[in-house]
Symmetry: C2
Subunit: 450 residues, 2 copies
């Protein structure tokens, strides 16, 4: 059995061999590794050693590595292999992996690489599908059996085909036009009489998606029905590919990361381990937009400077009220964004959600408003200040809850990603409205406050 | 093939039959549904009709429903079945599903239900494992073959066993002590000569987890090696169960939801669709803690009331500076929390992360400080105010970046969940420090500002 400690020790040995340039020994050592571990080792090596090792490894092993890396790492690996050697390596990779790799290249390089590959056309076909569509991440590696053959013929065919074990999980049954009819299980093949036709033992209750379906839809079907793979069909129902659970797990993980990151204005490719200047380019633009919205709030406060200089205690409550409403609303944004993502909330639920958050806002506003009013009283010995602070907090908290629901639902309704900057708009509104309500009522009642 | 529209139409018919109490017709109609869909329908029915339908359905179908629902829905379903009928229903369910159901009951009900079940002991064994451990979510439904039998014996055994297709994906090979040795694939069985011993065709490169391993670790192994199932072994390496991709997808989704929710102080069971009073109980306590930390910040501001009344423009910049530092730091918290969750960041990386965020903070502080200083100048026509505002923003942004990294890493180091309230501590610190720096330097330079 594989052992993590053993793998780490092997990594140390491998790094030493790479450093001293003993490539033959290194290759002998690392070819015993699982490709996922080998990919990790390769990416840990300094750039020059990495390129040298990849040069010395057999192309079929290099091809396997591509299957286990993503995004930034994938680009690093492509760079180290070199565009020149890429066609030979991709020739050994699965179609969908080759398509993923080629997608990372510049347009000219894409055409060149495809032209040099024997299977270029098949791979190019996969490139036509949207990056995040079922067609874009499906694999061609499935086993399809004609419904009119017998159980014995199917077993003989599998003996000859020798599909890798991770492809033979579901055996899909198609008609003469390659239209998906259902599945048979290995079990059914083993226990049925050899002359039975497949169509007689086909389970027809199959959930498929079309090539243009969003990858998230496929993931949801897999999850709902506890499947290990979802077949992908074209508009006519012909079987085109299959999305397996391991691909869809990656999709679900990426979508979750994306939602978390976008809520705080982060690009989904950002990493705390990225180089500083890359992070500057990725993070600063959104932060500046955010700063600009804070300036907006400042312009709201500026005309009230006179009020503030007469009742400076109000300034103490500005961040409390705006901040607390912001927090209350951010919870609602998070619940709605994630609820939409996991299918718990639908657009049609908007009225239910609004009513619920209105009720919540009233209750929570009063619960949080009382201690805030008491604090105001303690700091100023002025019941009027307590009242102003209470009113502003309750009003802003209620508004925040409603906006927290409305903003992501509205963005989704308009076809956008509800996670994008939902929180930034929310806090901008809650800041501005909180300041306006607090300083506005403060100005009206200024003679009572100062 | 299953069709969503057809399913929705069937739902409408089913609801009508339930409303008019035509149970025989209803049962006939819904038994054709996939259990995932049937579970959805059952949960959509009003409570009384739900209980009546469950009463009329065969127990094996009711048992299947439990496999497709979780958490709140699971509790609803248990309530509708009734504790009295539960033992009979669970008798028909998989061990791990039965254990999940029983875990939801009160301790006395648990003992009672187990005592009434024939398989009570086996299920009770699963209950000993931690809720979030591999043992706690593994299934007993695996196929184990002794390494000393021949290929023909294995095929004969499978014919007799007739394992459901979703169990026969990996065929695990064990020795005479039931210690896991590796896997064989159906393909290898089909293509090997009948007399070959299994030990000769066993693939030994298997990644297993122990029963006490965290469920997340199992999910990470599944994801890293693109597997469809991970075997679970005890301390002696004996095969105890298997975690399949569909279970681990649920784990990954829940963990992602948990991280997103905990970052903003939400309980992972919260839903925007939950009843108001439930949400009040779940959300308000954390919000009040949050409010208390805002009060802390207010106590920092209060002593500076005199400064504010002399230079009220400073009040305009309080929310800008504290808010912007909070946003900058929240991005870092999010990156570190998610990075730790998906294994991209490790505790050992702390120095790299701190250095990186220090550099980022200096660069971004200056970039964001310049327009803020200009705004200060425009509002006050006083270069000193521009300088005070610039300095406070740069300092607070740098501190925020460092704290954004330190807080989740420190919580993780101390054995806590880095997602819990990372953001609340961050914004408390950035608020307090931002106000202190701004109003402190403002007080020192008050003669230049007013």
């Amino acid at each position: 059995m594989a052992d993590d400690v053993a793998v780490r020790e092997l990594f140390d040995d491998a790094r030493a061999l790479a450093a001293s340039g003993e490539w033959a020994k290194l290759v002998a050592l690392v070819t015993s590794l699982h490709p996922a571990d080998l990919a990790e080792l390769v990416l840990e090596l300094p750039e020059e050693e990495r390129a040298a090792l990849l040069d010395h490894l057999p192309t079929d092993i290099v091809a396997e590595l591509f299957e286990y890396v993503e995004d930034d790492d994938l680009r690093e690996l492509i760079k180290s292999v070199g565009v020149k050697d890429l066609p030979a390596v991709l020739e050994e990779a699965e179609d969908d992996v080759a398509a993923d790799v080629i997608q990372q290249l510049e347009p000219e390089e894409q055409a060149e690489t495809l032209a040099q590959m024997d299977r270029g056309e098949e791979v190019a076909e996969l490139l036509q599908y949207g990056d995040e569509s079922a067609g874009g991440i499906m694999s061609r590696g499935f086993v399809a059996l004609n419904e009119n053959i017998s159980v014995q013929q199917a077993i003989d065919y599998l003996r000859v085909l020798r599909p890798p074990s991770d492809r033979a999980y579901y055996l899909y049954v198609v008609d003469n036009d390659r239209v998906l009819q259902g599945v048979v299980s290995i079990r059914d093949l083993l226990v049925s009489s050899p002359k039975t036709l497949l169509k007689e033992i086909t389970q027809r209750d199959v959930h498929a998606v079309t090539t243009d379906a969003d990858q998230e839809e496929a993931a949801r079907i897999l999850q709902k029905y506890n499947l290990l793979a979802v077949p992908v069909v074209d508009a006519e129902g012909r079987l085109e590919g299959v999305m397996t659970a391991d691909d869809l797990i990656d999709v679900l993980q990426e979508e979750a990361t994306e939602d978390m990151y976008r809520m705080v204005g982060l690009d989904e490719t950002e990493s705390v381990m990225a180089p500083v200047m890359k992070s500057v380019r990725r993070r600063v633009p959104w932060l500046l937009v955010n700063l600009a919205t804070a300036f907006l709030a400042a312009f709201v406060v500026a005309p009230f400077e006179h009020t503030i200089s007469r009742a400076a205690t109000l300034a103490v409550f500005m961040p409390i009220i705006a901040g607390h409403a912001g927090n209350t609303g951010t919870q609602v944004v998070t619940l709605v964004v994630r609820g939409l993502a996991i299918g718990e909330v639908r657009l049609g639920d908007w009225l239910t959600v609004l009513r619920k958050e209105l009720a919540f806002g009233i209750i929570h506003g009063i619960v949080a408003g009382v201690p805030t009013a008491v604090l105001g009283l303690l700091l100023s010995f002025n019941p009027w200040l307590g009242a102003v602070v209470f009113g502003a907090l309750v009003a802003d908290v209620i508004i925040a809850g409603l906006l927290g629901a409305v903003i992501p639902l509205a963005i989704k309704r308009l076809g956008g990603d509800p996670a994008v900057a939902g929180a930034i708009w929310l806090t901008t509104f809650t800041d501005i409205l909180g300041f306006l309500i607090l300083l506005g009522t403060g100005t009206i009642l200024i003679d009572r406050l100062s």
